[in-house]
Amino acid sequence: MRVALFATCLADRLYADACADAVRLLRRLGVEVHFPAAQTCCGQPALNAGHVAEARRMARHTLRTFRYADHVVLPSGSCAGMLRTHFPQLLEEPEATDLAARTWELSEFMVRVLGVTELGRGLEGRVVAYHHGCHALHELRVHDEPLTLLANAGARLASWEASEECCGFGGLFSVKFPVVSAGMADRKLDTLPPVDMVTSADGGCLMQMSGRAGRRGLAIPFRHLASVLWEAAS
């Protein structure tokens, strides 16, 4: 099987190692991974802020970049949600709808497409809190997939009251209303039980929560799901 990796603009710069781990993981599962060099940003930051014309330009560029891929896999639920939910409405062309049906968040791809639920026991005994990114949860309806992969690798999933609540990032929201955004991150941090690590499929959420934890002097390891799953498999 051939898969095009869409690293996403944020993970490319902030979670480069997680993208590399996603590649290693997919290869381990027998997938041939490509990295279409023309890829940039899916346009979600623009769309969410109401800049629809700009979002459409970036969506069209992304569609052109990935139109011939069998599957597009992203280490991000949020950007995957953009391709799947918003591209068809934004571009109004059959190719966008077609691309939407071939777009997957990484853990979703492994479970739903590859049918893989066991990666190894690399997380034996580790206490892990999982943050459900909002777009994975509410747009892609991805919920059990990452949890299954983590639990089957031996992780003990911590019960976290706010695990399905928004972290407060929201792209430009965190710039326009930084204090409210930080208050939302605090709700996540204040309800977090003692864990070995917090993980999530979305770099944006991890950046938000770890940045706030850092400002408050809290030493909590935040790690991208792709890296944690690679550790599970190694």
């Binding site: 690293a7 603009c9 490319d12 710069r13 902030l14 480069a16 190692d17 993208c19 590399a20 290693r24 990295f35 023309a38 890829q39 940039t40 940003c41 346009g43 930051p45 623009a46 769309l47 969410n48 802020a49 109401g50 800049h51 629809v52 014309a53 700009e54 979002a55 330009r57 970036m58 560029h61 909002c134 509410h138 747009e139 609540e165 928004c166 407060g168 990032f169 929201g170 792209g171 430009l172 929201f173 965190s174 710039v175 326009k176 209303f177 930084p178 204090v179 409210v180 955004s181 930080a182 208050g183 939302m184 991150a185 709700r187 950046m207 770890s210 940045g211 706030r212 850092g214 400002r215």
Partner: protein, 464 residues
């Protein structure tokens, strides 16, 4: 309330987060409780099918609104109800003023109604010298404090038990550690006299069935039933979007609304009001007036995207699950309706410019869409208003130009990679806080840690 207007949102919401830790805790606990009860109550029924049904009935009613309003008017008149039409708050005030004179009204009891808040009815009536008493316990508390409601169904949700105890000790001499039951009893005793001496009761309506002219009111405290039946005169203010075609539609709407609002199967009291007291009736008002209120609704109905907002049944479920609302409370919005529905009702009812920046007061997390009983696509409508705001030039010029430059770079991978490389030179720790746009952001967080090398360059070298 300083500057109770949407334009004060940024400052008010920041103040709420920084200075009102107690309020955030009360609101978070109460809304989580509501939402948990809603989820349980939804699991008892085929909620998704009922939500489809409710959406479709409301859509039908709204697309045939003129017909159903005429039918409702005819039925109400046949039932002995006087019907009035008001285009805006000023016309509502005029109608109420004439009714005060005609019926010799000095004392008024009010059932909880968000529409009367929207229309600033209390301010007007008190200006006319009438005594106005809110009779819903939460409304009563905030009336004593001189505050507007901060939640659609729980107006005093931002008030903790301790604040309430202090208020009641001052007002009624209850003991400083009185139980919630004792506080409610003190309020009930005080309100009893108001009910018995009132000349006029004012209510809103949850629904109005067009085929029978029936007003439906859901509540838990019994104060609405008293307000609408004890005084000589009852005036119901009804938003024109409240009309449903048939009485039997209420069987679905009453329980779906209750289940979504509080998780109850149905409110403790449901009043179905057909008209004033008839010959031989033991109680009820001598005169019943229904005022149909537009106040921006027709204009919103004519918007072929945002008209879906008018399906709202005011259950508050979207606010209960909203992570932004939980941090800021409802007053920050500076608008009668707060939470996600407020963010899309404000531009619809006030006009976009007046409503700024409320459509931006959301992370678009999508939780609200999953709990709306009438399936209003709230995140899509938030995006719609943001798009309109950009078109209308209501966002900063720098943001528009920045976005344009970003999109242009993103169409060329090489340029995009070069621009991305500049991130490394941003003086995050030293000067990050002083950056023009990111200053506030950097003040609240440590800067993002850039990977030593981009993934693109790792890939070019080969991943092992």
């Amino acid at each position: 309330m300083s500057a109770h207007h949407p334009r004060g949102y940024k400052a008010a919401s920041a103040r709420a987060v920084l200075e009102r830790q107690d309020m955030r805790a009360s609101v978070t606990a109460a809304t989580r409780n509501f939402d948990g009860n809603r989820a349980t109550a939804w699991r008892e029924i085929d909620a998704d099918t009922w939500r489809d049904w409710a959406r479709d009935v409301k859509r039908h009613a709204l697309t045939h609104l003129g017909r159903y309003l005429e039918e409702a008017e005819a039925r109400l008149q046949a039932n002995g109800v006087r019907v009035h039409w008001a285009e805006n708050a000023a016309e509502v005030h005029d109608i109420l003023g004439r009714l005060l004179t005609r019926h010799g009204v000095r004392r008024i009891v009010k059932a909880k109604s968000m529409l009367t808040e929207e229309l600033e009815v209390n301010r007007y009536l008190e200006g006319r010298g009438a005594q106005v008493r809110e009779t819903d316990l939460g409304e009563y508390i905030i009336q004593l404090l001189g505050q507007p409601p901060s939640h659609i169904i729980a107006p005093a949700i931002h008030i903790g038990l301790e604040d309430c105890r202090r208020l009641f000790t001052e007002r009624f001499g209850t003991s400083p550690d009185a139980s919630p039951e004792a506080l409610a009893a003190a309020a009930r005793a005080a309100l009893r006299a108001d009910f018995l001496s009132a000349d006029l009761g004012i209510s809103g309506a949850n629904f109005l069935a067009a085929d029978t002219g029936t007003l439906a009111l859901i509540e838990n405290e019994g104060n609405i039933r008293l307000s609408t039946s004890a005084p000589r005169v009852h005036v119901a203010l009804v938003g024109i979007e409240k009309v449903v075609p048939r009485l039997e539609d209420l069987s679905g709407f009453l329980q779906l609304t209750s289940r979504s609002a509080t998780g109850q199967v149905i409110g403790n009291y449901v009043s179905l009001i057909h008209g004033p007291r008839r010959q031989g009736d033991p109680d009820g008002p001598e005169a019943l007036h229904v005022v149909f209120v537009d106040n921006g609704r027709t204009r919103l109905l004519s918007d072929d995207v945002a008209w879906e907002t008018l399906r709202c049944v005011r259950c508050g479920a979207c606010a209960n699950i909203c992570p932004v609302y939980r941090q800021t409370g409802g007053h920050s919005y500076g608008f009668t309706y707060s939470g996600p529905i407020g963010a899309i009702l404000a531009p619809g009812l006030l006009g976009l410019k007046e409503a700024m920046p409320l459509p931006f007061a959301s992370t678009l997390c999508g939780a609200c869409a999953d709990v709306c009983p009438v399936r209003i696509p709230i995140p899509e409508l938030i995006l719609y208003w943001r798009e309109r705001a950009v078109e209308a030039g209501l966002v900063p010029v720098a943001e528009r130009l920045g976005m344009r430059a970003y999109a242009t770079a993103a169409e060329h991978a090489g340029a995009f990679a070069s621009a991305g490389a500049l991130l490394r030179w941003v003086p995050w720790e030293a000067g990050g806080r002083a950056l023009p746009v990111l200053g506030g952001w950097a003040g609240q967080r440590t800067p993002p840690r850039l990977s030593p090398r981009s993934f693109r360059s790792l890939w070019e070298e080969g991943i092992r």
